[in-house]
Amino acid sequence: MNFTKTVALNYIKKLFSEKWQLAMFLIIPLMIGGLFSLITGSDGQAKPVGTLLITDKDESFLSQLLIGGFNQGPMAEMFISKTVDSNEARTLMDEGKASVWLEIEKGFAQKFVDEKPTTIKLVKNPSQNILPQIAETAVNVMSDGGHYIQLLFAKELKQFNNLLSGKEVSDLQMATMSVQIKQTIDDLEAQLFPPQIKAVKQKLEAKKITNKTFMLLMFPGILFMSLLFSSQGMALEFWKDKTQGISARLLSSPSGLTKYLNGKIIASVLVYILISVVIGLMGLFFLKLSLSKIVIIIGWLMISGLVLFSMMLFICLLMPTEKSASIVTSAMVFPMMMLGGSFFPFETMPKWMAVIGQYLPNGYMLQSFNQWFIDDGLLSVLLVPAVIAVIFIGLLWFINKSLLPKFARA
């Protein structure tokens, strides 16, 4: 046990003396996860936001009504509107600091009421596509709407305009205007809204409303990315020891290679604990995970890490040189991350790809983990995968143990 402990501690000391390697185990997955999160937004529902410049030369009730269309509902989520004069608007557009500039000419409301042509100027930022296009469509829709209002309520609009411009309107005129508007709407309803034929009442089972942020969905993938990187690094350590003559010399010692292997396994468990604690603490702060959840995460990562370490070690022991071991394991890590659900959820993959991914060791362990972590499953969902993982680890331990002497001698 003493030698096993020494091997484990030696590896940890070495790891801390090579701080970059340790940092890489954590930084790369966090960086990838962070970038994904930034790209898609922390709530997972981020939309592009643009700046809408508004120059209202008319400053009438109708022009305000038009501008108001951009300041409510979904449009308000897409645009931050800013009221500016023409010069400032031109400068900002030239500097590319706005998506769209909307200019409403003076006399807009009067011309609209008088059924005369009027102009709404829309200037789009050529370096942007989506937001200016949305703004243009919105203005078109509003123009069309305005046209129909003119057709239907021309008389009422004139009376309303008189009211707003301060001209005297009698009670009779006001009442007549109200009745006319009501009458027109009632007439329209008969044509626009067909009668309801049959009312069907269906009770839908309440769908579980889950509030999963993108960061939460990425969290398990980040953890498994770390496991893959660290497992590869630790498996390659066997080659470093071999090239330094350590493993061959150990063959002549009574402790031998089995205790050495066990020591490395303990070291890898310590590394996995370290990774889970660091990333788990981030989960604690940023995702508000409970402490009990973090304890289970640590346990699951230890098992999953050992699965990956055993597999990587098996590959390394079969390789003829350190370089080939490094190339082959690197060539495995990235496809495993892609297919194994670390980058993209299985649900978004083509079916055949998802099937492969779910049967990769990391994919299987990640999928099982997600059933508990993301889908709020019972802890018991982890039981069967844990048993399978332990059998896998045990089997590979025997294989690796029998491969080690040959590896050390070669």
Binding site: F3, N10, K13, S17, G245, S252
Partner: protein
């Protein structure tokens, strides 16, 4: 004690060691002398368990290497030809690693670490990472790792290759100390001077076969009291050996560029030798005289110089 009986090791179709037998008793240094590729390291690797012998038996301190491997290994220390150290760790941490590999722990381990560090002159540098050490210091540490557990038998595979004189002296003194403490040592080298200085018994190995063995005195006697004289020049008439035989010279080598002879009292008879060579074979441009040593024996036995062969 280390005892090897009829050891053979074959790799594919190559016989690296062929039916070797030898014995190193407690408190004795047994030298295995031979050029690179002679089979020295393979013999060492068979003893230490790095290589499985094809035939024969090996025992260390009375324990058979094949059937009582753990006990045999507990009695054995190995200083491999290649360094086996963690470069990123300190000398002390390396010693902890190798000490615990041999079952040492706690105060006993720490005490032994300080003792061996003193023996190899590295006490002051024990906390430094090995990567900052010179080649000689690494060799000394490599040696120290092997003797932590006070092995009854020690294998040293060319421990002084590429080592500076100071480190070499440290190592040789430490080996002599171990011998005095009763350790059985097998020492492989192709440095004649070291072998003559350290070894009680020697075996000269070439092509996997022991071609001569005995004490240093025994082996020297095979050469006799004759000196080795090496002459260089452009020589002709090489079929004529009569002139040399009349001088009682034993011809080791006779070719166009070099003549090697074993001859008694070479320095006092140098003018006679030069006169004969000049008149019969051609002009001599360079002469070297060496007293009888293991090198001359190796040349006598193989027709090659040790370093030429390596």
């Amino acid at each position: 004690m280390i005892e090897i009986k009829n050891l053979s090791k074959t790799f594919a179709n190559i016989t690296a060691v062929d039916n070797i037998s030898l014995k190193a008793k407690a408190g004795e240094i047994f030298g295995l002398l031979g050029p690179n590729g002679a089979g020295k390291s393979t013999t060492i690797n068979c003893i230490s368990g790095l290589v499985v012998a094809s035939e024969g038996s090996i025992s260390i301190n009375g324990f058979n290497v094949a059937s009582q491997a753990i006990k045999a290994k507990q009695s054995l220390g190995l200083v491999p030809q290649e360094l086996a150290l963690y470069e990123d760790l300190s000398a002390h941490e390396n010693l902890v690693f190798w000490g615990s590999a041999y079952g040492l722990s706690g105060d006993e381990l720490e005490q032994r670490i300080q003792e061996v560090l003193k023996d190899v002159g590295l006490e002051a540098r024990q906390k430094e990472p090995v990567k900052q050490f010179s080649g000689g210091m690494k060799r000394r540490l490599n040696f120290a790792c092997a003797i932590l557990h006070k092995p009854a038998a020690l294998l040293l595979d060319e421990p002084t290759v590429g080592v500076d004189p100071q480190s070499r002296e440290h190592l040789l003194q430490a080996i002599i100390k171990l011998k005095k403490a009763g350790t059985a040592v097998i020492y492989t080298t192709h440095y004649m001077e070291e072998a003559e200085r350290l070894c009680d018994n020697l075996a000269i190995i070439d092509g996997g076969i022991i071609i001569a063995s005995g004490t240093v005195a025994d082996l020297r006697a095979q050469v006799g009291e004759r000196d080795l004289i090496t002459l260089k020049g452009d020589f002709v008439n090489l079929d004529n050996k009569k002139a040399l035989e009349e001088m009682n010279a034993e011809i080791l080598e006779l070719d166009k560029q070099e003549i090697r002879l074993l001859i008694a009292e070479a320095s006092t008879r140098l003018s006679e030798v030069l006169e004969t060579i000049n008149s019969v074979y051609g002009k001599v441009t360079q002469v070297t005289i060496q007293q009888a040593n293991l090198e001359s024996l190796f040349i006598k036995l193989t027709g090659r110089a040790l370093r030429d062969a390596s």
